[in-house]
Assembly symmetry: C2
DNA sequence: CTCATCGGTTCATTATTTGAACCGTCGCTT
DNA sequence: AAGCGACGGTTCAAATAATGAACCGATGAG
């Protein structure tokens, strides 16, 4: 792997570990030498991607990504376009709704709207969703290029619960059904006692760029309920896509934005 | 410079150039060979820091920073803590208010609340604020370690307008005044016809981590007005700091956050 | 049809990254 | 308080990765 790849993997590790983390632990976690890890951290710090607490000498994610994220959102406002729809769906369903984005070969949670109920499903912002064991992942796979699915199937599928689908053939038929229906259903694939449904948010070329999903405790969601939620989710995903790529078109036009 | 440093500089360049930008232009802008620039872009793309539009083949900032920024904000919620205060100050003043963060040796704008007035000052999210020519920069310098100020003064100060302070001694006395007063005033230092005032948001070790600033068209801000805005800004900065670092203390305690 | 420019690729040359061994410091145990 | 282990951080010869001039094919303007 290139040096850049290693450094970015290290950054990813810092984001995944505890709030603040020491040099040795980072190095161990990335399989890097301590000296190498330190050089990477120094370099990342120079550019604001990590910060070192002057007291504890531990490292945390820095401020630079905040600036980049704001620029990204200003230019490609996926999150901010989708946010009101996520809230709306959360209110309408009374369940936890989360939005994911496909980047770097992974589906990452970038927004969560919690259910107001005491018994609710918790999803962490920043968590990575396994493709074969989450409703979001299934919704994504059902509409992505065949090539990508085959890549995924070339490795064994991890079983997170006893209900996780780990057979390639079962997964294929599940995806065919999902594609037909327009929304996915995942029954206790990642966590026991949780059922969820998701739909892809598609670009104009019809490839998915992310997903929106509803997750409910199993006790509140019978067959009919989950299908009702699923079709609402699919409709919401469609509306997000239309709003977002409609806006995109507008933004592409040479408006005199500053004319105030 | 290390490979990592070069790659992150390239990423920074992409963030600073137009919405989407071609390979040759990026390479030219960074002083890199086309082949090298491409390798960097491919590596950054693998990790989601840039995306390539499949049609135009141009590059833009990717989704990974959004995920990192959300994690950063969950762990160190500077922006989200400050946001309501920024809005409040914008409403109270009727002028454009912006929040900056110090990272990677630079002061970057991470939030802007526009004035509702037709004649208003425009500040771009993501813009980098020169230390000697903006109210935010002056507020930061007035409270940062002496060493940092000397580093800055070791290079000549660029004149953005005919009012920009470019003499080291003038700058020093301006900073002494700012430190005494608790807020800075910058009169047409970066843009003609604009006056602004800012105050530092300080960590418990009393070093500034960012600034909050109000920018107004000169025609609306006489001497008395700007001093009134300045002291309100300083008070707001203090409140942000107290709220934020108060929260920090709370977060450090071992709460059972998930006990729902 | 030609020329210029674009995105992208190749491979011998070159400069950078790497990591075992090394400090000094801190907190804990004996 | 002395000894131990783990920490953050540093060094420099050896090993590996980055580099860029020249190249290709495609696209579009004149």
């Amino acid at each position: 792997m290139s040096t850049i790849g290693k450094a970015l993997t290290l950054l990813d590790a810092v984001s995944r570990l505890e709030k603040e983390v020491g040099l040795t632990e980072i190095a161990r976690h990335c399989g890097l030498d301590k000296a190498t890890a330190r050089r990477f951290l120094v370099e990342l710090e120079k550019h604001g991607f990590v910060e070192q607490d002057p007291e504890t000498r531990r490292y945390r994610i820095g401020g630079a990504p905040v600036r980049l994220a704001r620029i990204r959102e200003a230019r490609f406002p996926y999150l901010s376009t989708a946010a009101p729809f996520v809230r709306e769906l959360a209110e309408a369903s009374g369940e936890t709704v989360h939005l994911s984005e496909y980047a770097a070969g992974r589906l990452s949670t970038i927004l969560v709207e919690d259910s107001p109920r005491a018994n609710r499903v918790i999803v962490e912002v920043g968590s990575v969703l396994p493709f074969h064991a989450t409703a979001s992942g299934l919704a994504f796979l059902a509409f992505c290029p065949a090539r990508q699915l085959e890549d995924l199937l070339s490795a064994p599928l991890e079983a997170f619960t006893e209900n996780t689908v780990t057979s390639a053939n079962d997964l294929r038929s599940l995806l065919a059904e999902t594609a037909r229906r327009g929304y996915s259903i995942c029954l206790q694939g990642l966590e026991s006692g949780v059922i969820s449904t998701a739909a892809p948010i598609k670009a104009p070329n019809s490839l998915p760029i992310g997903t929106i999903a509803v997750a409910a405790p199993l006790v509140r969601a019978d067959e009919a309920t989950i299908h009702r939620l699923g079709s609402t989710t699919a409709a919401t995903a469609k509306r997000i896509s239309e709003k977002f790529f409609g806006l995109e078109q507008l933004a592409a036009q040479p408006l005199a934005r500053r004319a105030g």
